[in-house]
Symmetry: C2
Subunit: 311 residues, 2 copies
């Protein structure tokens, strides 16, 4: 059974077919978040702190950390991103104890993150591009960490799922040449928007099944991409996630603050027999203690005393 | 491609892997509904009328009709159910134009329903029990209708999905002996409560996939059974249905009045590429025209006029 083990200083999370779905919180990422980008350039980490705490409180098992901001004062991310990645990782792992996912397209930022992170973080990511594999896979080997493998290569992102499978296979094989085992590769098969490609859902489900059955690897995705451009995106995401999970998807980089998606994942864990005795489901769906009941509960002793006083 | 065609007088519904999921409304059924049972014995069909209209308005593509009430005045359903089935079917098909599913364990009630129904109803059901097959399959052949095949037999309901598959296969083969094609058999693989059997979800998904791939038959189920006994049943059902659909389930007998489940099904149709151009999804999720916006829209001419009057 394939198991990808990630660790913080004190916590171990296992990604696997027999494990609850691994929700990787996506919020600590300045891409498309102008306010956060400006804050980071000004050295203000308050939003990062809030995002770290809130995502873990909402049930994220890991946090993705992306420091991909282009400073107004310095447009070269090769210079600015590595120290920022280090700062954010140090901050986040001081606040929460979940394992981290170090997310960058700048190799030096990946290395800075690896040097700063406690335990065994997940590296995000390598692609099937030659230059990228040659730069990132040695880091994966040196630090002995698992890595997200995105199934595009020097020819770009193929619309043909067979090509995307072949790229994933190539990365797994190249990793093996470096002595990296398949269970440390978490493949991202690339989720296309269903609004742009009507077969995007079926493609991912088939691809995830094939990756599971033939390459025996864990998988991840940017889940919300499926609903891009359509109304009621949470409704689409909340059906997509259970369908992907039943096909064999074992993790996703997503927003854990959204209750509809998180409920769908808890239900899917239950339905995949990855929630022993339904304990997590029942805990999450306990009727809230209403004031009247709490009073009735206290009422036993206090109520009797008052009645006696009155009598 | 497997297609099960059902018809009312004016409407054709096709159950198939390339079709939107077929929601069969379950509400017209006195089992466990004391008030409805009492009304039916008293000849009061007002709840049936309301249930028929409401279920179709909520998106049911077919309606199940079950007349399984045990009268206080006559405890023999073999006498009371056939005329009641006929009455309800005549009433319902006078109110709504969706195809019907004739649901009874009393063979004479099935036959009374077949005689009364317009078009090509779905018969519900035959099992793998010898006596039942010998009694129901000739009706299926005589009336040239599709039939729900429940995968239990004279030995009961097996907990082993392989046995349930074998029972389904036996019914399909026996039906073939009667000249009934496999595309007119809609197999119910039997959904067990996940609270009682932790593998119930995975069992159904595997069984539906095998029924689709090997027997090439359509499938149905009593969907809400999966969540029996657990809190927040709609949350479980709303994840179960997309998972079952992605495994190949093509219909369910369920309550279409529940918005959470219906939204999950619409999203699953979209994700399975059975909602051309996302038209049904977009229609169902159009933002409602709010009063303020309508006023703003009107405001162009009227607003200017008022401003002029004020000026």
């Amino acid at each position: 059974m394939t198991r990808t083990v990630v660790e913080s200083r004190s916590k171990t999370v296992t990604i696997g077919f027999d494990q609850p779905f691994c929700v990787i919180g996506e919020r600590i990422n300045p891409t498309g978040r102008k306010k956060l980008a400006a804050e980071l350039e000004a050295g203000d980490f308050s939003t990062v702190e809030k995002d770290a705490l809130e995502q873990v409180a909402c049930g994220a098992l890991m946090l993705d950390v992306n420091a991909g901001v282009v400073y107004n004062s310095n447009p070269n991310p090769n210079e600015t991103e590595p120290p920022l990645m280090r700062s954010i990782i140090e901050l986040v792992q001081g606040l929460v104890d979940v394992p981290l996912c170090i997310d960058s397209s700048v190799p030096d930022a990946l290395e800075a993150g690896l040097a700063a992170a406690h335990g065994r973080p997940l590296l995000n990511s390598v692609t099937g591009e030659e230059e990228r594999m040659e730069r990132v896979l040695p880091l994966v080997k040196k630090y002995n960490v698992p890595v997200v493998a995105i199934s595009n290569d020097d020819t770009g992102i193929s619309e043909d799922p067979e090509v995307r499978f072949a790229v994933a296979k190539k990365i797994v094989e190249r990793a093996a040449d470096f002595g990296i085992p398949a269970h440390d590769i978490v493949v991202d098969p690339l989720v296309m928007p269903i609004g742009a490609m009507a077969t995007a859902g079926q493609q991912v489900f088939a691809l995830v099944r094939k990756l599971r059955e033939e390459l025996k690897v864990n998988t991840t995705c940017g889940a919300s991409n499926i609903s891009f451009g359509l109304p009621n995106r949470h409704g689409i995401n909340a059906a997509f996630l259970p369908m992907a999970i039943s096909a064999g998807m074992t993790s996703a980089i997503m927003n854990p603050v959204r209750p509809q998606e998180m409920e769908a994942i808890r239900a899917a864990n239950l339905l995949m027999n990855n929630d022993a005795h339904g304990a997590a489901w029942i805990r999450a769906n306990k009727p809230p203690a209403v004031e009247g009941e709490a009073q009735a509960g206290r009422g036993g002793r206090e109520g009797r005393r008052r009645r006696r006083e009155r009598g």
